[in-house]
Symmetry: C2
């Protein structure tokens, strides 16, 4: 199958390209390099060194004989997007090409504006590209579990049957997202559902949990194939950051009381989930929603695991509670229905001690690349004056 | 009170400015003139001639001695928006500055993109302007009843208590909007609710029904104060268009079977509802939702009324069913809770025969200004090739 991966140079997009290419699909990646530009601007680096996209693709071809095509473009620029669609004529599109960090979107007005512009209007262009160029193409869109927030009822997969004043309907699950980033994904979901309805587009919206892990079975085949491993306060997710903190003897930074509970998924399961979605194509006009998580933990649960494993490895791992920079419930109900991907055949890689040990070991092996000024949170949901510049000032010494 | 009206040169924004100025408020209008530019581009005109904004404001001052301040700017341009906020320091902002036509948003990709760019990102800027410049300011935002779609349960005012698997929560009412325009308003609602939560902004989201009527008690004081009266297929709403069609002996164009039921409101009630919202300020951090309608009708109900009144006036009014250009249910349940504005003191102007006769009379008196090529629908929800140019081609002769 011809599969176009938007954002195919990113943390997940790149291993996804490798995975699908390895399975024999004809794969192309489309990327605007914006994530790498952020690093260039602020002097941040991935824990694991990553190669330029062209070199990654070359190395993959050397190792496997398989070709991954590169399109350099931006989803918000119609000509570049439509050009890639017209040239490649994808049968499935995997859409990772969004600004993906909640803290980034909360830095200030410009970052919020950029996030919603890039994500919502870029995705609107993707919908038109499918409609006008490849109407049978299946859109596999990355959403987030954060779209739901933390309601006091069970979270269903996209839709909920509501009984109200003696009548019944199945309606979109009400959303309570917690950042301008999460909001952008909610906006996308509404736009996509509408496009499916009016144009007969087929789409799978994957509400993904927090992804952890440094590598997939393909990315470890050669150092040149490594995907990025972020641990900074903008792009690094909690478990990745904790592994780094454990390795350098820095206290694990838990925000608030640590009761915040979220769904998690291993990067190895992410690439498989997307394959499962592609294999089980929805009907024309169908808008499917899968909750792409395998288990959930409070942030205290996650910290406790890292403390235990780290101490077993002979490290001295402490926990430190920080004033919560976010506006979120710290003690709340959380129960998520997530059966659809399991029904399609997902066999989860759960978060065990070996996985955590592997992550800490990677951090230890790359200790000289760890930059402490990137670890602490400086983006505050309530205040505007905190921004990336302040991170640099505060931790430069 | 200092009240800034964004979009204050438009169909509703202008009479709103007059109404609030007349009540003794200090009023300023902010407008980018984009609605007038559409007319200039396509050669469309309002049924009633409208004066330039500066002349309207001058005439109002001549008649009443009251000053309305003008800011020329665009909500998507931060500097112009922030400049107006810094200069005027509003205590309430009434936000009409959105692309307001569902058919406009469905013309093609560029129009959909513009609609969501202008509306969603413009409103995001408004939220930041309030947060950073006038944090106590009350945002009165115009949403639309079309955000809800037509669910098979009663439509509540913004929120619904859901009982699910033995647990209960009050959650945002699930939305099923029917165009990229309606979607933009749903996106706005989510963004505003979040801003209230994290920054303590106070906001009232008014889900307004279809507005009809040509004038308010202030706009009729002088011809120079008239507000626009649109009857074209892009900006004209059903009842306004029917009144025009009745006057020129053109069949009333009902889309599909005509069972589509929507909430309606008289323009005289719109201006009053917004005053009621301003008078009853929400708490800091409160996000209120009012359903701003007074009654509802199917499109057949509305057409029947116009036929009856028109024939009584000696006109020969026929009805004509057109293939529905939209993707929408034509027979559906519709019941809307709309008590909050009534509780605040709204005394509705209901749609009676006098109102319809007045609208048809206005059309008869301005017959020479009616342009037939503007009446028929050419924007189709399913197809992209229909656009405003085609209206001009098909009806030029």
């Amino acid at each position: 199958m011809r599969i176009l991966i938007l954002g195919g140079d990113g943390y997940l997009g790149w291993p996804q390209a490798l995975y699908l290419s390895n399975k024999g699909h004809e794969v192309a990646v489309f990327d605007n390099q914006t994530r790498r530009q952020f690093d260039l601007k602020h002097g941040f680096e991935s824990l694991l060194p990553i190669r330029m996209l062209h070199r990654r693709v070359e190395r993959w071809a050397e190792l496997t004989g398989k070709t991954i095509k590169i399109y350099s473009g931006d989803t918000t620029q119609w000509d570049s997007l439509a050009g890639a669609f017209q040239d490649f004529l994808p049968e499935a599109v995997v859409h990772f090409a969004e600004q993906r960090a909640a803290p980034f979107s909360m830095i200030d007005r410009e970052h919020a504006f950029y996030t919603q512009y890039n994500n919502v209007l870029g995705t609107l262009n993707v919908l038109y590209a499918i409609k006008e160029i490849v109407p049978d193409c299946h859109l596999v869109k990355l959403g987030t579990m954060g779209e739901y927030g933390t309601p006091n009822i069970d979270i269903e997969e996209g839709f909920i049957e509501i009984n109200h004043k003696g009548r019944t309907d199945v309606l979109p699950f009400p959303k309570q997202p917690g950042s301008f980033y999460h909001l952008s994904k909610v906006h996308d979901s509404h736009n996509i559902q509408f496009a499916c309805k009016i144009w007969g587009i087929r789409s799978t919206d994957l509400n993904q949990g927090i992804v952890y892990g440094a590598d997939t079975y393909e990315s470890v085949l050669d150092p040149d194939l490594a995907t990025r491993f972020d641990y900074d306060q903008i792009y690094g997710t909690a478990l990745n950051r904790f592994a780094i903190q454990a390795a350098i003897g820095y206290p694990l930074t838990v925000y608030g009381t640590g009761g915040q509970t979220r769904g998690y998924i291993n990067i190895k399961d992410t690439v498989r989930c997307i394959e499962l979605a592609i294999q089980s194509e929805p009907q024309a006009g169908e808008f499917r929603v899968f909750n792409q998580i395998t288990e959930w933990f409070s942030i205290n649960d996650v910290a406790d695991k890292v403390v235990r494993v780290g101490n077993r490895m002979g490290l001295n791992v402490q926990c430190h509670s920080l004033a919560n920079p976010r506006v979120e419930a710290e003690n709340h109900y959380y129960n998520v229905v997530h059966t659809k991907l399991l029904d399609l055949g997902l066999e989860p890689h759960l978060l065990d001690d070996n996985e955590i040990e592997h992550m800490i070991s990677l951090a230890l092996a790359n200790q000289d690349r760890i930059d402490r000024r990137m670890i602490l949170p400086t983006v505050n949901w309530r205040e505007a004056e905190n921004d990336v510049k302040r991170v640099e000032e505060e931790f430069a010494n």
